[in-house]
């Protein structure tokens, strides 16, 4: 029986969760190998590990989503069979998945009661849920409009719904799989406040994240996973980020980006008074003007849902808009025949989209076919006027995957069988290697492990140092601050203002992102 010291007072209690010798294989993939951990009640336990290390799998087993091939699960000291999520819920376990499990066209309320309705009729269940949702909202300041449809909510709010789901089911063990991956710093801080609150109520929390800062900030203990195995479990206060990073990747990792000062050249991208209205008739871009010079990175900060995505879509050529865009002083077609992704690429614009799975990749294509995705018309990939040169493409793919350290380096694998980080590497490799005049990057490191982050950041800097223009959109202020040479903040379809990274801080940017106009900025 483990003994932990917490907040001074001595406690000897059965661990809230204890996993013994858990193994899980997906066909030939050994996702978890003989894993054992135990987590004390009333603590926050962090789990870190590279993409594909097996974190989500392990937690999914605990939650009964997957069945372990071997191993036992003990909840509060007594062995518990968890064949399905129902059993997990019964055992007081709640989980917020990395990829949310919400019904898009259902209301918040319906999603919350799904599976725990009381009675065959909906009305009473909904009424009851509405009440307790209110009180939960009060208690944890988790405010959501219960009648909104999920598809109309931002990811941040959607995640709140997931947490509410768990709380509504009165979970006293809460698992969060990369919860902050899609949150703004403000949202993340809010989340942590909630988690602390829950801990103080004696609830047990497992937190999977790629962000060491968060681990250090909030967890009591932390385990590291590598290649399906649990390589270490340490008390957070006895460790530090560098050490954790090393445990995780197996080598020293540079946690901060180091780059030489930019040498901005001529304007590559000029945007003037860009306006865009989406399918629902909502104006998402309300007159954006900005420019990016050769050899510089312009970072766009903002809470997700304030138009950054639309800006990228318009620049990338798959959303129509009005206004003016010039690339290398040549106007770009915004509504006509040539306002499509293909024409953009022809004009030297490369694009790492925000959502690699929805846009960046064809998940069912093998890696090698994804490596030419969007550039499949490029002359060098053609055997003749009619046929593509698959042999050549395969070669190119293999080479890229080796140089970008995509794991496993097998171009024949389908994109979907790579972990998030490695999928992202494939996209980045594809787009950067065309060496475009202008690179559009959206959320380049979302859900990506620190090893890969370091690598991707290096690539972006390298491109900028070659004198290319880079437009970086990210909700990670840290990332914005460390990569950008100039920072523009977007709010509600406007540019709130520009800052230089060394003359601002998260606080100020945070305020601007919240729409608070600063003196000297025309909103």
């Amino acid at each position: 029986m483990a003994e932990v010291t917490k907040g001074g007072q001595q406690a000897t209690v059965a661990p809230a969760i204890e996993l013994r010798g858990i193994s899980k294989a997906f066909g030939p993939v050994q996702a978890n190998k003989d894993i054992s951990i135990s987590v004390q009640p009333g603590t926050i336990h962090g789990i870190i590990g590279e993409n594909g290390a097996g974190k989500s799998t392990l937690m999914s087993i605990l939650y009964g989503f997957y069945k372990a091939d071997e191993g036992q699960i003990f909840i509060h000291g007594k062995e518990t069979q968890i064949p399905d999520s129902q059993a997990a819920i019964a055992a007081g376990i709640g989980m917020v998945f990395q990829h949310f499990k919400l019904v898009e066209n259902f209301s918040v309320l319906e999603n919350v009661i799904l599976g725990v309705e009381d009675g065959a009729m909906l009305k009473p269940s909904l009424a009851k849920a509405r009440k307790s949702l209110k009180s939960l909202a009060e208690e944890y300041e988790l405010h959501v409009d219960p009648d909104m449809l999920i598809e109309d909510l931002g990811v941040g709010v959607q995640q709140r719904v997931e947490i509410l789901k768990a709380l509504y089911r009165e979970a006293d063990i809460l698992i969060l799989d990369e919860p902050t991956g899609v949150l703004t710093p403000a949202e993340a801080d809010h989340l942590f406040r909630i988690l602390n609150g829950l801990r103080d109520q004696g609830k047990t929390i497992i937190l999977i994240t790629h962000k060491l800062r968060e681990i250090m900030e909030i967890t009591d203990t932390v385990s590291v996973m590598r290649r399906g195995e649990m390589t270490a479990t340490v008390k957070t206060k006895d460790t530090n980020p560098e050490h954790l990073a090393e445990l995780m990747v197996g080598r020293k990792v540079l946690l901060r980006v180091d780059k030489v000062p930019a040498k901005p050249g001529k304007k590559v991208l000029e945007v003037e008074n860009l306006r865009m209205v989406d399918d629902h008739g909502v104006e998402r871009l309300k007159g954006i003007s900005l420019n990016v010079r050769a050899g510089e990175i312009l970072g766009i900060a903002g809470v997700s849902g304030n138009g950054q995505s639309q800006l990228l879509e318009v620049l990338g050529g798959y959303a129509k808009a009005t206004g003016e865009i010039r690339v290398n002083d040549e106007p770009i077609d915004l509504t006509g025949k040539y306002s499509d992704g293909r024409s953009r690429r022809r004009r030297g614009i490369a694009h790492v989209p925000e959502d690699r799975q929805e846009h960046g990749l064809i998940m069912d294509f093998p890696a090698w076919q994804n490596v030419v995705f969007g550039y499949h018309h490029a002359p060098e990939y053609q055997k003749n006027k009619l046929l593509m040169d698959n042999a050549k493409i395969l070669e190119v793919a293999q080479d890229k995957m080796d140089r970008f350290d995509v794991r496993p380096p097998n171009p024949l694998l389908e994109a979907k069988s790579f972990s998030g980080g490695n999928q992202q590497k494939i996209v980045v490799a594809r787009e950067i290697e065309r060496n475009p005049d202008l690179l559009l990057v959206g959320q380049p490191t979302r859900g990506v492990d620190i090893g890969a982050i370091e690598f991707i950041h290096k690539q972006i800097i390298a491109l900028r140092d070659e004198g290319k223009a880079v437009l970086l959109v990210s909700v990670e202020l840290e990332e914005i601050l460390s990569l950008s040479d100039r920072i523009a903040v977007m709010f509600d379809g406007h540019i709130m203002g520009e800052r230089l990274p060394d003359q601002t801080d998260e606080r100020e940017l945070g305020l601007m992102m919240a729409g608070v106009t600063q003196e000297g900025d025309a909103a």
Partner: protein
């Protein structure tokens, strides 16, 4: 076109719409749960045969009804086995079942009655007879409303009223009950249902059961309500029309009613006005026969708007690749 004619055409439309409606609702439950069902045609046919056969053999239409529904449910069961348990291709399964039905009905029929798949003509208690709604005769002479009640609404077989009743019922089940909530959820995002601690498998089999029952009723009505006995291939493509109606109705119960009534009406009109003589020449009968389908396309195009199918529709729920 005088009032009486309108009543008569509407009357015919209602009859023709009934099997479509039942099949359409069957498809609705199935597809709302994420299981595509182009096997409607086969289920109708099978049920039509077994209901007629058993009714003929036992002399009881009610036993026939049970047999018909049972056979249709059996088909649904196989479809479920293929698409739920073994995560197979739902379209293939549907196609296969359609072939199977058209073959097996005749095979068994020949062996059973020696009439080449036909069943003996049903009479008396072997078929459903019209039910007169209360006061049908009394109000018959009331202008306008009278005929509408006594000629149009009254005098159909019980199954017609069952079918009509199924519309609000389906709506209620889908949108007002726990089961309905889960059913719709499982067609949109099975993982959400699964992680909410509800069995995807069980839900989808339940949907199959309902679909089987409703589709079974469609077949029963064809063979023992509208016709008097089974004739090979008598479903005559109605399963596919029901499928079209389902998409047309965008997977919603009330719209299913409207869509199927529309199909029924178009067919009834085409039946009534088949060779319109314009003096100089007669509008070719083939044109009138194609008219319902032409109009459907036009209306559909006019409506515009993409029909968004349930998101998880067609894909088996696979957790582990």
């Amino acid at each position: 076109m005088d009032f009486l004619t309108i009543i008569q055409i509407a009357d015919s439309a209602l009859r023709l719409a009934t099997p479509l409606l039942l099949a359409c609702l069957a498809g609705l439950f199935s597809e709302r749960a994420g299981i595509f069902d182009i096997g409607l045609e086969g289920k109708i046919l099978a049920s039509a045969f077994f209901s007629a056969a058993v009714a003929a053999a036992t002399g009881s239409v009610w036993l026939g009804l049970l047999a018909g529904v049972a056979s249709s449910i059996a088909f649904s069961g196989v479809h479920g086995l293929a698409s739920i348990t073994f995560q197979g291709n739902q379209l293939i399964s549907g196609v296969a079942l359609n072939f199977f039905a058209s073959g097996i009905t005749i095979l068994i029929g020949t062996a059973w009655f020696g009439l080449g798949g036909r069943t003996p003509s049903l009479s008396g208690g072997q078929r459903f007879s019209p039910v007169e709604l209360p006061f049908a005769n009394a109000v018959a002479d009331v202008p306008i409303l009278g005929p509408i009640y006594s000629d149009l609404l009254s005098g159909h077989t019980i199954l017609v009223y069952v079918a009509l009743l199924m519309v609000p019922l389906s709506w209620f089940v889908l949108y007002r009950t726990r089961f309905g909530l889960r059913l719709r959820a499982v067609g949109e995002n099975p993982a959400a249902v699964d992680t909410a601690g509800v069995s995807v498998i069980r839900l989808r089999y339940a949907a199959m059961l309902i679909a089987g029952t409703l589709c079974g009723l469609a077949g029963v009505y064809l063979a023992t309500g509208l016709a008097a006995g089974f004739v090979k291939e008598m479903s005559a493509g109605r399963g596919y029309i029901a499928l079209a109606a389902l998409i047309f109705a965008r997977w919603r119960p009330w719209h299913a009613l409207y869509a199927t009534l529309l199909f029924g009406l178009l067919e009834a009109i085409a039946n009534r006005y088949q060779n319109i003589d314009l003096g100089t020449f007669v509008i070719p009968v083939q044109f009138m026969q194609a008219l319902p389908y032409i109009l459907t396309v036009i209306i559909l195009a006019g409506f515009g708007g993409t029909a968004v199918a349930p998101k998880a529709g067609g894909q088996p729920y696979v957790k582990e690749r």
